[in-house]
Amino acid sequence: MFEIVDVEVASIFGMNHVKIEEQVTGIVGQSGSGKSTFLRLLNNLDTPSKGNIYYNDRSLVDIDPIKLRQKVVMVPQTPVIFDGTIYDNLVIGHEFCGQRSPQEKELQEMLQMLQLDKDLYINASELSGGEKQRLALGRVLLMDTAEVYLLDEPSSALDDKTAEHVLGKVIDFSKNHDKQLIMVTHDQDLAKKYADKLIKMDMYSYNVEGEKV
């Protein structure tokens, strides 16, 4: 559960008071309106110029940032692929968090769920953009430490059909595992279809608010 109080990021956006407690929250707005910047604040990669952000009633500045990011994991707009195989890429989050890697079977099921029909032991750099995006999604979905997923345009590199399938699966998965999902998308229809709450970012408004769908 996030609560945003009087937050401002110099010359990008401002937000008076927004609570994010729904299961699925969509963040929409034109490009450049500050969607990615907002997600970065929730992951504590950036600090607002003004105001406070609370996660489960604790101010982000008082939470160990590493512990926070192990619970509130983020997939950036451009997926990051690390050196090594698909397997290496899927378990690297577990390594960072000091957790035991999942069984191969679990990894294969995740690939299947995301329609990524690839061998676990091929080099991840061989994947296409869309495949890399799904690999990056699978990696965070597998993390046991996660309580919240922050996804920045998770389907930007996918064709419409794959996007719909993958997003549907990601949302089902989050619900079944009782994880909160905060997702940036430029596709308003998509957001309305899946989200319990929408946060609309606007380049010209410094008073962004959330609304129930």
Partner: protein
């Protein structure tokens, strides 16, 4: 008179540069003069020191070389580096080189007296020189690695990595690149080239076996010193790319008040 023949080499170089119209004539003349003057000066200083050995003189000369080496690393770094990084370079070189030289002179070579300038100064100089090259490579590769692999570093943070985990592959690559010249020198030693020190000793009439013994000690000393110093530097320096909130400074969009600048282009 015969001494003048050696400068014939430089005339050949100048002739080639002139014919090829390479704009380096002035630089070549100046560096030839500088080298000659510097070496003559050093020769006289060494004669004085060898005739009047004193612990303070040995230590003083070593410190002078160390200071020069640190300054040289600053100059060789292509990015303009900021004060925190400069301090780390200096600190790592002072610690790494002090430890290594102490070990080298007292335990490996067992100098008697410990400040014996005939051995301490030239061997110390060689080790400092090679360490300087290694650290400069380490600094450059750390900065470039962080800059070129920004997204990977931050991508690791997003998955809950500590700054150390996030920077690990960059630290390792920087370390490798700093060690590579030393490793190559060890592999090629004696086959591709005879090292300057050994050549000098042999010319001066030493038994090749004695020269070889010293050379092995020096090479191992160089490898050890470069690795310790670069390792200390990298483990201090990667931290300066992150702030207290473990945010990666090169990727931030909204700099916080306390963020120290790391480097500029």
């Amino acid at each position: 008179m015969a001494g003048c023949f050696r400068y014939l080499f430089i005339l050949v170089v100048l002739a080639i540069v002139h014919i090829k119209k390479i704009p380096r004539k002035k630089l070549i003349i100046i560096s030839t003069l500088r080298m000659t003057l510097q070496l003559i000066l050093v020769g006289y200083i060494l004669i004085y020191i060898f005739d009047h050995p004193h612990p303070l003189l040995t230590v003083g000369i070593i410190l002078f070389m160390l200071g020069f080496a640190i300054f040289n690393v600053y100059q060789r770094t292509k990015a303009t580096i900021q004060l925190p990084l400069k301090k780390m370079i200096a600190l790592a070189m002072v610690i790494g080189i002090s430890i290594s030289l102490t070990y080298m002179m007292l335990i490996v070579l067992q100098l008697d007296p410990w400040y014996d300038p005939r051995i301490f100064i030239p061997i110390g100089g060689m080790i400092i020189g090679k360490t300087m090259t290694g650290v400069a490579l380490g600094v450059n590769n750390l900065i470039h690695g962080m800059r070129d692999q920004k997204d990977k570093v931050e991508g690791a943070l997003m998955l809950g990595a500590s700054p150390k985990q996030a920077a690990k592959s960059i630290i390792n690559e920087a370390f490798d690149s700093a060690m590579l010249p030393t490793i190559n020198a060890m592999v090629g030693m004696g086959i591709v080239f005879l090292p300057g020190m050994m050549t000098g000793q042999i010319i001066a009439g030493q038994q090749p076996v004695t020269a070889v013994k010293y050379q092995i000690a020096v090479m191992l000393g160089v490898a050890g010193t470069v690795s310790i110093t670069v390792l200390i530097f990298l483990h201090l320096a990667y931290k300066s790319f992150f702030n207290e909130q473990k945010q990666f400074l090169l990727s931030k969009r909204n700099p916080s008040k306390g963020d120290k600048p790391v480097e500029f282009h």
